[in-house]
């Protein structure tokens, strides 16, 4: 028997966050039948503790960097950063879900189990250094989120959302896998560093034509997951149909993890043929920003509006990827942290305001929120200002670093058009603020309970994070800058 058959404890420690998450998810599923009906919501605590333990494990992994399992896993600063980010998104979602599920009479342990499985898949993606591991992590994350999108099965819209997400997602994954197969055919490896070294041979780079096509196929798979043009059309329908906390989760965790592997595959493995895929990213970034922002202008449903806004934000991140420099990678990392905080925060406020059966998700339902719910309205304003990119919020520095990276890579036109597109965005975000503070509440406006409990915690944490990152961006920007030098 080869000596490598049994993994060493050091190797197991490097996947400790995933082990904790899967154990917690399994524990929840074992406990769920033992707990009656509504009390199942208490399993949310198990989910929360599991996520916090995994967060600690992910952080401690930073002090023991290195590869594991025949280099399939690589724990470095980049992996730690995105692991912490997706687990944090999981914590915020757990907090935001608790009261929502109770209100919908859908208290259920399985919801939290699926959430943990999805986060474990994303965490695995962040630490993967091999196309096979990336694919399996992506599938774990996606399968769990398909089911979460359709979790409230008595709602026709949720089922439609889940089915659309599932069918289109499986189709996109097939393209990803086909691209991986071509890369394997050209380079004889699925290991990112080996692929890079094959392409680094410069003029004699083998199969440059085929490699470009393979990069395009892989792009299809990842662009679908981050909802970038031309594969963005599923996002509004799915976000609108899915329960609000799930929409918050879909726009945060899976997207952050998908961007992590997007960067790792294209910058590490396909970096040497950057000239081939850069035009593709240029076009996709521009179209994503334009479509997201202009389509958001005409939305009247807040969930759809936030969905189009999240498409637009994926476009900004693609601008930083087009630069494919170290500053660009650092900008992607910083922006994803800012984006997770402000987007989950905004969705969490919507989860508070929407009421039972999500009756109040039109923009008019937010009329007079400034009077009815001063705290919720103020916090939502913080998130919206951050989404616009107003100084003193995380969104400002996020956009600043992205467009600085783009300018340093001589992407002048993309920067100019991107800035114009984000100016358009200010209109529809400000419109929500105007409705909240200037419009009279409708007669039928429901009495809302005060914002407190777990949901309140989720909103306050997100708001605090948005402001802290906006005032002291160096807190995590330095870390991002140091980790942006990916393994070569």
């Amino acid at each position: 028997m080869p000596d490598s058959f049994i993994p060493t404890s050091a190797e197991l420690l490097r996947i400790l966050p995933e082990i904790i998450l899967v154990l917690a998810a399994t524990l929840i599923m074992v406990l769920a039948p033992l707990v009656k009906g509504r009390e199942q919501n208490a399993l949310g605590y198990v989910s929360l503790y599991g996520l916090v333990a995994a967060l600690a494990a992910a952080l401690s992994g930073y002090f023991d960097p290195g590869p594991a399992f025949h280099q399939l896993i690589l724990v470095d600063g980049f992996a730690t950063y995105f692991r912490v980010l997706v687990i944090f998104a999981g914590i915020l979602t757990t907090l935001a879900s608790y009261q929502y599920l109770r209100r919908e009479d859908a208290d259920s342990g399985e919801y939290y189990a699926l959430l943990l499985f999805s986060v474990s898949g994303q965490s695995l993606m962040a630490a993967s250094n091999d196309l096979i591991m990336i694919f399996i992590g992506l599938e774990i994350s996606s399968l769990a989120s398909y089911v979460m999108a359709g979790f409230l099965r008595n709602r026709a819209q949720a089922i439609e959302a889940a089915l659309k997400y599932f069918l289109l997602g499986s189709f996109a994954t097939a393209f990803l896998l086909y691209g991986v197969a071509w890369i394997y055919g050209i380079t004889g490896s699925t290991y990112l560093l080996t692929i890079r070294s094959v392409f680094e041979r410069g003029a004699q780079t083998p199969g440059i034509l085929l490699a470009g096509a393979a990069a395009a196929l892989i792009f299809v798979g990842f662009a679908f997951k981050v909802a970038a043009w031309p594969f963005q059309s599923w996002a509004p329908d799915v976000y609108q149909g899915a329960p609000v906390p799930v929409a918050a989760f879909l726009s945060a965790g899976p997207k952050a993890a998908a961007f992590a592997v997007f960067v790792r595959v294209f910058v590490t493995a396909l970096g040497p043929i950057g000239g081939r895929w850069e035009p593709l990213f240029w076009l996709s970034a521009l179209a994503t920003m334009l479509i997201g922002n202009f389509a958001a202008l005409v939305q009247t449903n807040i969930k759809r509006l936030l969905a189009y806004s999240s498409i637009a934000h994926a476009g900004y991140v693609l601008v930083a990827m087009t630069a494919h420099s170290e500053i660009g990678t650092a900008a992607v990392m910083f922006y994803m942290a800012a984006y997770v905080l402000m987007n989950v925060g905004a969705f969490a406020v919507v989860a508070h305001v929407c009421g039972r059966q999500e009756r109040f998700v039109e923009l008019e339902d937010f009329a007079g929120l400034g009077e009815r719910q001063p705290v919720s309205a103020a916090l939502l304003t913080v998130f919206l200002l951050s989404l616009i990119g107003v100084p003193l919020t995380a969104g400002f520095f996020g956009k600043f670093y992205i467009f600085r990276a783009a300018l340093q890579a001589d992407l002048v036109w993309l920067t100019v058009l991107g800035l114009l597109a984000s100016a358009v965005a200010a209109y529809y975000y400000l419109r929500i603020i105007v409705i909240m503070y200037m419009h009279q509440p409708a007669e039928s406006a429901a009495e809302l309970p005060p914002l407190r409990g777990a949901l309140g915690a989720a909103v306050w944490i997100s708001a605090a994070g948005t402001l802290v990152l906006g005032i002291f961006p160096s807190l995590i920007l330095n870390f991002a800058g140091n980790s942006a030098l990916l393994a070569r």
């Binding site: 474990s120 399996i136 992590g137 050209i186 083998p206």
Partner: protein, 169 residues
Amino acid sequence: MIDTLFFYLFALMTLGGGVLTITRRSAVHSAIWLIVSLAGAAGLYLLQKAEFLFAVQIILYVGGIVLLFLFVIMLVNLDQAARERQFNRQWWLALASALGVGGLIFYFLRAGSGSLQLAAAPVPSPVLEGNTERLADVLFSQYLLPFEVASILLLVAVVGSVIMARKRV
């Protein structure tokens, strides 16, 4: 020569079966043509001397999965579905884009085929070491982690389908 003949035979089974799977009206016929298509793919694996994949393809896909399909088809009432339109109105658009993508892929494979690192034909070794043994060696040493993590993927799939199939949340 005989290899080439078998290749075209199996390729015809795979493609023809695939086309008939989506064009037959009756769901049972579709499932049976799917068996033909999968068996053709199994034959292609055998031509590549991948005996293990060949056996797995027959046992799992043809024997297991399609059989399950047939059970489900017979349990579910499909009269309603049989009366509906087979394809929606945009079928010609779908066909055109499928042909377009197929043409692109064909072009790239033709143009880039020289750069594919094709494995050299295995030298017949005096010791009996087949494809299956080598696969096991790699799977349980180098690719142990993906192998184990795939079980989590299956667990998620099972849990997810049970949740979706339940009557009420």
